[in-house]
Amino acid sequence: MADTAIPSAIGGSEPAIGRGLKGLLLVAIPVFLVGWLIIYPIIAAILSTLFVDGPQGVHFSTASYQFFFSDPYSRANLALTLWTTGLCAVLLLLVGLPIALYLRFSTSRFADLVQSLAIFPMFVPSIILSYALIRTIGPNGTLDILLNAIGLPKIPSPYLTPWGPVIGLVWDNLPLTVLMLTAGLGSISNSAVEAARDVGAGPIRVFWHIILPRMGNSILVTISFTVLGIFSSFTLPYVLGPASPEMMGPFMLRTFNDLYDPLNAKTQAVISFVFCLFFGLFYVWSIARNQRSQTR
């Protein structure tokens, strides 16, 4: 994205050092904010949970981590979070991939409609979605009303069960999944697909042998992004999910705000960082690589 500046551009007559300084000054405040409010808090959270104040001054201790992993309630929350995140990632791929494939290869007039519908949830804030889902699939909600009207029994409502957040999170993250997968499919050349078809490969074999190997990277980026977003999501699990066990987002908020326990809240945050470390690194690495290839 960042193309290399042509020297004759704005300020071309100034000496190079002055220009460099001016550029640095212009980006100073946002970069400082990243350092102060992202990098520093993360390092501080890691250090302050490992080096705690004791009677003999500051000393190294893993007590808060030992507490987290020995406490059944904390472990249940972590397990629920991992279950929800994994399930949502799989469901999003299962739903998003067919839509993305359809959008990539379809010429029909339905394609535009399908795309508009698939990215529509991007325009719906999660708080309004939560409310809408409670009224729709909650107890005596619209779905129950419709089932009752045609003489079928009510559904066991997913509201306040672990399935509530799963439904909400899949709904909420569908647009980005479809967009990222469609972008990944865009790099597959038609000639490769046509060549395979010419030698008689069916749609499944084309998908398995031609398309899938070429979009492995974009599937991983999509999964990384989804995992980062869902692992510590807050609004949907808080409103739609069960009170106990709860996902890491609501758990951290309760520990921090209701129990006034910053140490354990920070420990939970660091544990979330560790579980998402691979996905975060992969996400940054792949975007940095894209930037580079566009610059060159």
Binding site: M1, A2, A9, I10, A16, G20, G23, L24, L26, V27, I29, P30, V34, L37, I39, P41, I42, A44, I99, S106, T107, S108, F110, A111, L117, F120, P121, M122, F123, V124, S126, I127, Y131, A132, L133, R135, T136, T142, D144, I145, L146, P175, L176, L179, N190, G229, S232, F234, T235, V239, M252, L253, F256, P262, A265, A269, C276, G280, Y283, Q291
Partner: protein, 275 residues
């Protein structure tokens, strides 16, 4: 989108039809339900259609003091955050797009950090810092935490806008003697303007709906609109309050977001949301 396959021409596109119908049901029905509830006075199970439509709950919702307080706080917060974000990020975006300075690529990528960690964990780590600085439950504490969330959007989208400006026109203007400021004002800004405006709009709307930071840092003094909505959902027996608020708040933001997407294109729009 490149569409080259003509295998569907002539035949009815059942796959597309099926996708469209299923998506329409799954996505539209919950929103239609909210709209129906907002204009309903009585809707008792198991009636398929509400027993009584009406605007009674619009009056009741709009006469609640907490609704107006929350709306006022939310608008103040969004306006402050958006203005500050534009003030510090747009010059930086210009520098990233046009100037060469040491560490440029690294600094540019550093904004990814806000999306590379699980969001709520990051917020808790920031909140722990704010605890020592006595910024918890203050207006400016919420401003700061929401400002961090807008950095990437307000830098990456405008950088693309500045880079898309036709450099030959700028050079032509300079050749006929226009100064740097004049070039910026008459050539650069009109071309990059719509995209930048869309980024500002996007920042405003996404800050308005930011829930997690506002709650974690702002509670209990600073109660924004989304936080009030959560309260209505959890503790309010009158269902219609939430529905009326959803309709009032969502319609303007929806129009703003549609406009923003049209201007900056779906891909960049997704990037603004962190894709």
């Amino acid at each position: 989108m490149i569409r080259t396959y003509s295998s569907t021409s002539g035949r009815f596109d059942w796959t597309g039809f099926l996708f469209a119908v299923v998506l329409a049901i799954v996505i539209a029905v919950p929103l239609l339900v909210v709209f129906t509830w907002a204009f309903t006075e009585i809707w008792r199970y198991p009636a398929v259609i509400p027993q009584k439509f009406g605007l009674r709950f619009w009056n009741q919702t709009l006469s609640r003091a907490d609704v107006w307080d929350a709306l006022s706080i939310s608008l103040q917060l969004s306006a402050t955050v958006t203005a500050l974000s534009a003030l510090i990020c747009l010059p930086a975006a210009y520098a990233f797009a046009r100037m060469k300075f040491p560490g440029r690529d690294l600094f540019f990528l550093s904004f990814l950090a806000s999306h590379a960690f699980p969001k709520f964990g990051l917020l808790v780590a920031i909140a722990a810092i704010f605890l020592q600085l006595n910024l918890i439950a203050t207006f400016w504490g919420v401003v700061l935490i929401q400002l961090v969330g807008t950095l990437m959007l307000m830098i990456w989208i405008p950088v693309a806008a500045f880079q898309a400006v036709d450099r030959r026109m700028e050079e032509a203007a300079r050749d006929v003697g226009a100064g740097p400021l004049r070039v910026f004002w008459s050539i650069t800004l009109p071309q990059a303007g719509p995209t930048i405006f869309a980024a500002v709009l996007l920042t405003f709307v996404s800050t308005f709906y930011e829930t997690e930071g506002a709650w974690l840092i702002g509670a209990p003094q600073i109660r924004t609109m989304p936080v009030l909505m959560i309260n209505f959902i959890n503790n309010q027996v009158v269902i219609q309050y939430g529905a009326v608020l959803s309709v009032i708040l969502w319609v303007p933001s929806f129009i703003a977001l549609m406009f923003a997407r049209r201007v900056i294109g779906t891909g960049a729009f997704a990037k603004g949301f962190g894709a």
